[in-house]
């Protein structure tokens, strides 16, 4: 996705851009699609009538007529190839009286010139075919080649197939400048170049054309409002019911959809704002009024939603503007593609791709090299019971229904996210799977959907609630087609405060692609379970709890455009060898399986772990009920599980002290805190506020000499120790307890560091680092508790920021 690598840039990933890209992918061309929105089909392609027009209506001799009729012929085959629904249900144009019937005759003549088969049928035949039609309809024009399809599904699958053939996509890439040659600049500073540009920018295609050509065009956004009826009405009409067209379009139609719902609309209103897709009271009234003419018993109580879409109406010529701009060689337009744009799209794609390939002198790829893959996944609601049962046995996630109205399963939703050009927003899932499109319109499934989005894309679920259609910022920098091919500037291992601080600092220091890999399901690290206060006094000048402190860094990372991939474990780091530029980080995750990522630099931020019981050599049985303090902290604070009622704590580390208070608050009795040394190893303030406040005895120079209980802890024996820390006979105290907590220190977690060949400091048990937090291995830096165990998270984030900056500087020194 770098500069200067592309042959063709397609601007716009609506149905036209998708079809153009797919056809281009069949030539020996490197193609990049830039889309201003966060997804495919974000403009007119997601909100239109979904009709495949027969072509009787377009003025003979125009591009509209030519491409409509050609596109209609291609449609069936294209839908078959892309595995999307299409139905030739036929179209009827209704006449209400003699004047309309005259118009029908004109339409029939037009149809014949255009080469479209039609016939005029009388009232009785009409009523026989469509019993719900108004008694006032006197005749109709029947066009058997008219059809219905799903425009956004068509766009998605066309893009999937294009991606399968090597086309790359960049979203949230709004083009603001185009320079000769061609250089394309985006609003956010990204810059791309290519030998040819295809302008499929819908309502904004005039603006792009006018940047490079002296032949100016002007597009008006023509808004159409629609109503959608419940599946109950599926059989109300079999054909698409038009009325005699007027100057602004084809009037209000009623049509079954391929999904079984019924679409009613649109209005036609020219508006100034090319983003204004609001529905209006007056607009919807017009839709009803028009529809009632065709269908007097229109059941308004069956409306499940209303929406509006914008058509790109060209005002100077009033036709599609297709082909190379006369004074801008290599700049191709698909401009003013309003109705019948959807029908024409396959033909426009075919024709434009041929023109572009001709211009660049490229040949078609041999048929054997063209992939027909469209990233299909099983659609459970269309499967036989037997097949479904087998699928669920193989893939249980296809047995968990997420959207109950449309019966969409978890497996389908995950597949839609994992597709080549996958969903990254709630709307993206909705349009790919129909989840949230049914009666409840997302009322029940939204919480589950954001959870799955969060899991799949490595972000907190609430990140997907900020917008239904705009992808979270953190995802914008994510690679276009495949993450595996990407080269990261800085890869940070661990999304605790150390890792997040390092990643933010690396972005601030100019590193472009910064990835944080986290094994837990959410970023924040151990602070998520540290629900007590006392964090951030130095950094934020206020006392925060752990989750609050973590959230500040999570937010900061998202704003900084850091990618965070959760649920992913790093299993190996292989540093760049002499003569190599890149290190390899091997990761494992449910989503990607085993994957090798390439990176210019690495920041180690894995934190630390607790010393377990074995390391303490406490004698006695090995019953359940012995935990490290941090484990209980997670059980209580995050899983809502209390492990016991009567507790003894061995060791007086800070986590042990904090847990003495927490367990007391949660209703347990903490009998004693036993410390072998002369003074507490935790902070004095924690002794005061966690033990003294609750009269919990701190037994200094004592240790646990026996753990009792076969299955579960039933008690512990504690004794005083002498100068050599040996138990003194006769000083034993017995405690009846069901839980023993260990809080005897933390150990930096450095298995990965050692595997990468990083030199360790035997005293801190972390990597040896210099003032820049660089380890002994070039390109590997370290920050936070992985280096040494800190008292304060503020110093963790401070030192990790140094590591992040150093890593960014190091990455800059490595050629792209």
């Amino acid at each position: 996705m770098g500069k200067g690598e592309n042959d063709v840039i397609v601007i716009g990933a609506g149905v036209v851009g998708a079809m153009v890209a797919r056809e281009l992918s069949r030539y020996d061309l490197k193609v990049l699609v830039l889309e201003a929105g966060s997804d495919v089909a974000e403009g007119a392609s997601k909100a239109n009538s979904a009709i495949v027009h027969a072509g009787f209506d377009a003025k003979p001799g125009t591009s509209k007529a030519k491409f409509n009729v050609w596109g209609n012929r291609l449609f069936e085959n294209v839908c078959k190839e892309l595995n999307v629904p299409f139905k030739r249900n036929g179209s009827l144009v209704l006449a209400f009286g003699a004047e309309d019937e005259k118009s029908l005759a004109d339409l029939k003549a037009r149809a014949e010139t255009n080469g479209v088969p039609v016939e005029i049928i009388g009232k009785d035949e009409l009523k026989r075919r469509e019993p719900n039609v108004s008694d006032l309809a006197t005749a109709a024009l029947w066009a058997p080649t008219g059809g219905i399809c799903c425009p956004y599904e068509l766009s998605f699958r066309a893009c999937e197939n294009a991606a399968a053939n090597g086309v790359e996509f960049a979203f949230d890439a709004k083009v603001t400048a185009i320079g000769p040659g061609w250089t394309v600049k985006c609003e956010d500073g990204r810059e791309f170049s290519a030998k040819a540009v295809v302008n499929c920018a819908g309502c904004r295609s005039d603006e792009l054309n006018n940047l490079v050509s002296s032949v100016k065009y002007s597009i008006e956004a023509r808004r159409g409002e629609y109503l959608m009826l419940d599946r109950d009405e599926e059989h109300s009409f079999s054909a698409t019911m038009f009325q005699v067209p007027g100057p602004m379009g084809k009037g209000i139609l009623i049509s079954p959809t391929v999904d079984g719902t019924v679409i009613v609309g649109p209005t036609a209103e020219d508006i100034d704002d090319k983003d204004d897709k609001a529905t209006t009271y007056l607009g919807l009234e017009k839709v009803k009024e028009g529809a009632l003419r065709t269908w007097p018993k229109l059941p308004l109580n069956k409306v499940i939603t209303e929406f509006s879409g914008l058509r790109a109406h060209e005002t100077t010529v009033g036709d599609f503007i297709l082909g190379e701009a006369p004074d801008a060689p290599g700049f191709f337009n698909a401009l003013g593609v309003e109705s019948p744009g959807l029908t024409s799209a396959p033909a426009i794609g075919l024709w434009l791709a041929e023109r572009v390939a001709e211009k660049l002198g490229r040949d078609r790829k041999p048929a054997t090299e063209i992939s027909h893959d469209v990233s299909s996944w099983p659609v459970t609601r269309e499967m036989s019971k037997r097949d479904l049962a087998e699928l669920i046995k193989r893939e249980p996630s296809f047995g968990r229904v997420i959207c109950r109205c449309e019966e969409i399963t978890e497996g389908e939703i995950r597949a839609a996210i994992r597709a080549r050009v996958g969903a990254r927003t709630l709307d993206g899932i909705k349009r790919r799977t129909r989840s949230g499109m049914g009666r409840c319109q997302g009322g029940f499934c939204t919480p589950k959907l954001i959870e799955i989005l969060g899991e799949e894309l490595g972000l907190p679920p609430q990140a997907f609630l900020a917008s239904r259609k705009k992808a979270p910022k953190a995802l914008v920098t994510r690679a276009a087609a495949s993450d595996a091919d990407a080269v990261y500037d800085v890869t940070v291992i661990g999304a605790g405060p150390a890792g997040l601080a390092a990643a933010c600092a690396a972005r601030e220091a100019g590193a472009e692609r910064v990835l944080v890999i986290e094994r837990d399901d959410a970023p924040g690290g151990i602070l998520q379970q540290c629900i007590h206060n006392g964090f951030g006094l130095h950094r934020f000048k206020e006392e925060l709890t752990g989750p609050e402190y973590a959230q500040r860094f999570v937010d900061k990372a998202e704003e900084a455009g850091v990618q965070v991939r959760c649920g992913t474990m790093v299993v190996e780091i292989v540093p760049a060898k002499d003569g190599e530029r890149l290190s390899t980080v091997t990761t494992m995750s449910r989503r990607y399986g085993l994957e090798e990522l390439k990176t210019k630099s690495v920041v180690l931020a894995m934190g630390c772990r607790e010393r377990p019981r074995g390391a303490l050599m406490t004698p006695g049985t090995r019953p359940a009920g012995v935990y490290t303090a941090g484990t209980v902290q997670r059980l209580v604070n995050m899983d809502g599980i209390m492990p016991g009622k009567r507790v003894v704590i061995l060791g007086s580390g800070d986590i042990g002290l904090i847990m003495a208070r927490r367990l007391t608050f949660q209703g347990a009795k903490v009998l004693a805190c036993v410390e072998i040394m002369q003074k507490s190893s935790g902070l004095m303030r924690n002794v005061v506020q966690c033990l003294n406040d609750f009269d919990i005895p701190l037994l200094l120079r004592h240790t646990v000499i026996d753990v009792e209980g076969r299955e579960h802890v039933t008690g512990v024996k504690v004794a005083k120790v002498d100068e050599d820390l040996k138990p003194i006979p006769g000083t034993e105290i017995h405690f009846d307890c069901d839980t023993l907590l260990l809080s005897c220190g933390l150990i930096p977690e450095n298995e990965l560091s050692k595997g990468a060949g990083v030199e360790m400091d035997p005293k801190t048990r972390g990597p040896k680092v210099d003032a820049d937090m660089a380890t002994s291995v070039p390109g590997i830096f370290a920050g936070g508790n992985v280096v040494r165990v800190y008292d304060l998270v503020d110093w963790v984030s401070r030192d990790s920021e140094i590591a992040g900056r150093s890593a960014a500087e190091y990455a800059k020194g490595i050629s792209a």
Partner: protein, 114 residues
């Protein structure tokens, strides 16, 4: 009265005495220490952090008192929290219980919960 300040890891040893003009604090390294000493002598206060149940979920929601509350109220508050269930979603700073146990202080969420 001898005290150890709990405001930061430094843990200053404070000496608090009553004088004619009021309360005098010595041994503090910052103004927060002086305030702590004075409060601890007259009305000791503490921040209370805790958990409330979330309807239909196992994971609890962490909460805190927005300001410190009198020490004597701690158990009353933790008992109340133990019997509190909230409905998601909640965001950091959302008020969970207002004026908890008549202290004039609100209990607020300390994590985003969806």
């Amino acid at each position: 009265m001898k005290l150890i300040c709990i405001n930061c890891p430094r843990g200053c040893e404070l000496s608090v005495t009553e004088t004619d003009g009021g309360i005098s604090v010595e041994g503090h390294a910052c103004p927060r220490g002086e305030t702590y000493g004075r409060d601890e002598y007259s009305v000791p206060v503490r921040m209370v952090t805790g958990l409330v149940k979330v309807a239909g979920a196992r994971r609890p929601l962490p909460v805190k008192t927005r300001q410190p509350v009198p020490k004597g109220k701690i158990y009353e508050i933790t008992n109340l929290l133990a019997n509190t269930t909230v409905l998601p979603p909640k965001s950091i700073g959302d008020v969970i219980i207002d004026n908890v146990c008549g202290t004039g202080v609100d209990i607020v969420a300390t994590a985003n919960y969806s």
